[in-house]
């Protein structure tokens, strides 16, 4: 929604091919990484254990499901929408995984991801076809998927006894937790699709200026539905990762990951209004959020002060990471 009458745009200007602003531009780009490093150093001053290799890999491992969720919703946010159903969908996925693992073994991941992708696509379709704001559709979706998860699981936890089938998602490959490799694999695949096919520009075109994108004949509805399907698929995969980690599926297992996932997207510097941002930023954002979530409790601050520090630090983090030149109006 930037007009050239907006002061921000005037002062920001386009990126110069080179020149002094280039350094600043690169700095802005890597700011999320810098802040991640700074936070890590800061926290490890209080608890040096945090900087050990074991601790760092554990942290990366912890971040994996959150990262997968956040990557999925990044695509929807880039389109200018929001998907509130990802947490509930991940929970449903965990229930389905736990239910199907006995019969399907390791192959269970395929149907689960497909089902969740379909669930996402249905939400996308309703949003597009009935023109109901994505907020409302996915809000409804959230309740529905939770309800289904409760129904399928009989409102209880389903233990997975045959863990061998999901061992691939919870082991180490050359010292690196496989879950984080899975997450990075998703980033690589989706990142490639966004970068090397027109899909990426369609997504940001729609996020920046949907009417213009429509009038240029872009497949706006299809892209939006696809974005929701991707988000759903990622939620499904995150659900599988959760099962591998907790040895069980439960109807509310992933619910609490919704807000941290959106926070990861924003801390990474993707504009919540759509258009500008990217997956790499979200990866770093997820790491920052996880660091704050676990790091703070381990440095031993009092119960009341822990959330206060969390609140302050997350504000500091985003203050530094966000690229203000790319968004005219911050909402």
């Amino acid at each position: 929604m930037s007009t050239d009458t907006a002061p921000e745009v005037t002062s920001a200007g386009p990126p110069a091919p080179d020149g002094p602003s280039r350094v600043r531009r690169e700095l802005v780009r890597f700011m999320p990484l810098l802040i991640l490093g700074a936070l890590l150093v800061l926290l490890s001053l209080r608890n040096p254990d945090l900087l050990t290799q074991r601790s760092l890999t554990t942290m990366a491992d912890s971040a994996a499901p959150l990262m997968v969720l956040a990557i999925g919703i990044t695509v929807v946010i880039l389109c200018g929408g929001i998907d509130l159903s990802i947490g509930a969908l991940a929970s449903l996925a965990s229930v389905l995984t736990a239910l199907w693992v006995p019969t399907m073994s390791g192959a269970v991941v395929v149907p689960v991801v497909l089902v969740c992708a379909a669930a996402g696509a249905v939400q996308g379709w309703i949003h597009v076809a009935a023109r109901v704001p994505s907020f409302i559709v996915t809000l409804g979706g959230m309740s529905l998927w939770t309800g289904l998860a409760l129904a399928f699981s009989g409102a209880s936890t389903i233990a997975v006894t045959d863990l061998g089938a999901l061992r691939w998602a919870f082991t180490r490959v050359g010292g690196v937790p496989s879950a984080i490799l899975v997450a990075l694999g998703v980033v690589a695949v989706l990142g490639a699709v966004l970068k090397f096919t027109p899909f990426g520009r369609w997504v940001s075109s729609i996020g920046h200026a949907e009417p213009a994108a429509r009038l240029a004949g872009l497949p706006v509805s299809q892209v939006k539905i696809a974005a929701f399907a991707i988000s759903g698929a990622c939620a499904g995969l995150a659900g599988v990762l959760l099962v591998a980690r907790t040895f069980s599926g439960a109807p509310t297992l992933g619910d609490s990951l919704l807000l941290p996932a959106v926070a990861a997207v924003i801390v990474g510097g993707t504009a919540i209004t759509g258009g500008h941002g990217g997956l790499f930023r979200t990866v770093v954002g997820a790491l920052i959020v996880v660091l704050l979530r676990v790091g703070l409790s381990l440095i031993g601050v009092d119960a009341g002060f822990e959330p206060i520090f969390y609140g302050l630090l997350i504000i500091v983090a985003v203050t530094v990471t966000i690229d203000r030149s790319k968004v005219a109006v911050l909402k």
Partner: protein, 353 residues
């Protein structure tokens, strides 16, 4: 060409003529003859959905249409209504507020510790309530200042303020719940006036106040301007940052009042007094037509959403829908109701995000 005689027949020619490729996100798009904005459609749709829901439940369940139940619905909606009024101001800006539960938690403890209670020797009464509302406003002010001065999205500032509020609440709680012993405040929940709980009247007053602020003050009008087109508001010399901050502060004051009401109802200062309220309030506002893009809807529209949610919850319980199924049913009904009501006019809608 603006002569009334040429414009009139067109305007009267039937239900708002098709505008197509509907106004851009900023709304600065081509000719548009009637206020057929997305928000108007949404509001009508929600109202229709609400009426439909009431009719269906009334047919299904005799209890539902009883006068007692009307009172129950209104009383149940009171706290949510007050919170939603506050949140509406933030949504009008095009911003979002996730701090509700934290602010309500901190304020709930504060009010319980300031009025006559089981823990502190204080007995400030009305003054305590006022101080709590002011504390809410301070939290809102913090959200607003952080968003506008640091220029970061409200999603995160308010998430941060939520955490801070929760921390403050936890510190104030200190392991022991302060029980409210102030008869006047407890009376908000237990005494009735004209059949409704005093708290419901307080809520009604708050809604009225919210509507007056929205319509007759700069904070209210500028919230519309900023939400409609922030850059243009700035071009016109509106001190955008100041009024954005003010809108957040107004919202915070309403959260403070909501916390006071919740404490009165719960009988003690509960850290989680606001649990679930943030989400319900956003949902209520959006369902009513106060859209997240800003500049659309308003306090009264949001109230439609509040009643959609409250009636739905009430009706499902009375209709004996199993608790297991309630969540699913609730989600489906909200989507179906809004979608069905929007369906006939969906082609008139602009960019829907």
């Amino acid at each position: 060409m603006t002569s009334p005689d040429t414009a009139q027949p067109r305007a009267a020619a039937g239900p708002a003529p098709t505008r197509g490729p509907a106004p851009a996100a900023g709304g600065r798009s081509r000719l548009n003859w009637r206020p057929s904005g997305t928000d108007a459609v949404q509001t009508t749709a929600s109202l229709a959905a609400l009426v439909l829901m009431i009719l269906v439940f009334s047919v299904l369940d005799a209890q539902f249409r009883s006068l007692d139940n009307l009172v129950a619905v209104v009383d149940a909606a009171a706290v949510l209504a007050v919170i939603t009024v506050g949140l509406t101001f933030v949504l009008l800006l095009g911003a979002i507020d996730l701090s509700v539960e934290g602010v309500v938690g901190a304020c709930a403890l504060t009010v319980a510790l300031l009025v006559a209670n089981s823990r502190t020797g204080l007995d400030l009464g009305v003054l305590g309530v006022a101080a709590t509302v002011a504390l809410g406003a301070v939290f809102g002010l913090a959200s607003g200042l952080l968003s506008t001065r640091l220029r970061i999205p409200s999603f995160l500032t308010t998430l941060g303020v939520y955490a801070i509020g929760l921390g403050v609440a936890t510190i104030l709680f200190a392991g022991e719940r302060p029980i409210v012993e102030d008869a006047w405040l407890s009376g908000w929940a237990s005494s009735k006036f004209l059949g409704f709980a005093v708290a419901s009247w307080v809520a009604a007053g708050a809604v009225l106040a919210g509507w007056l602020i929205q319509r007759y003050t700069r904070v209210g009008r500028y919230a519309y301007a900023i939400g409609g087109a922030e850059d243009i508001a700035r071009l016109s010399g509106v001190p955008v940052a100041r009024y954005k901050t003010a809108a957040f502060a107004v919202a915070g004051a309403f959260y403070g009042l909501g916390a006071v009401m919740a404490s009165a109802q719960l009988g003690s200062g509960v850290v989680t007094a606001g649990s679930g309220l943030n989400f319900s309030a956003i949902a209520a506002a959006v369902i009513g037509g106060t859209l997240l893009v800003g500049g659309r809807g308003g306090v009264l529209q949001s109230m439609i959403g509040v009643f959609v949610l409250t009636v739905l919850q009430n009706g499902l319980i009375l209709a004996g829908v199993s608790p297991y199924a309630q969540q699913a049913v609730q989600g489906v009904i909200v989507v179906v109701a809004v979608a069905a009501a929007t369906w006939p006019v969906r082609h008139r809608l602009g960019v829907v995000k």
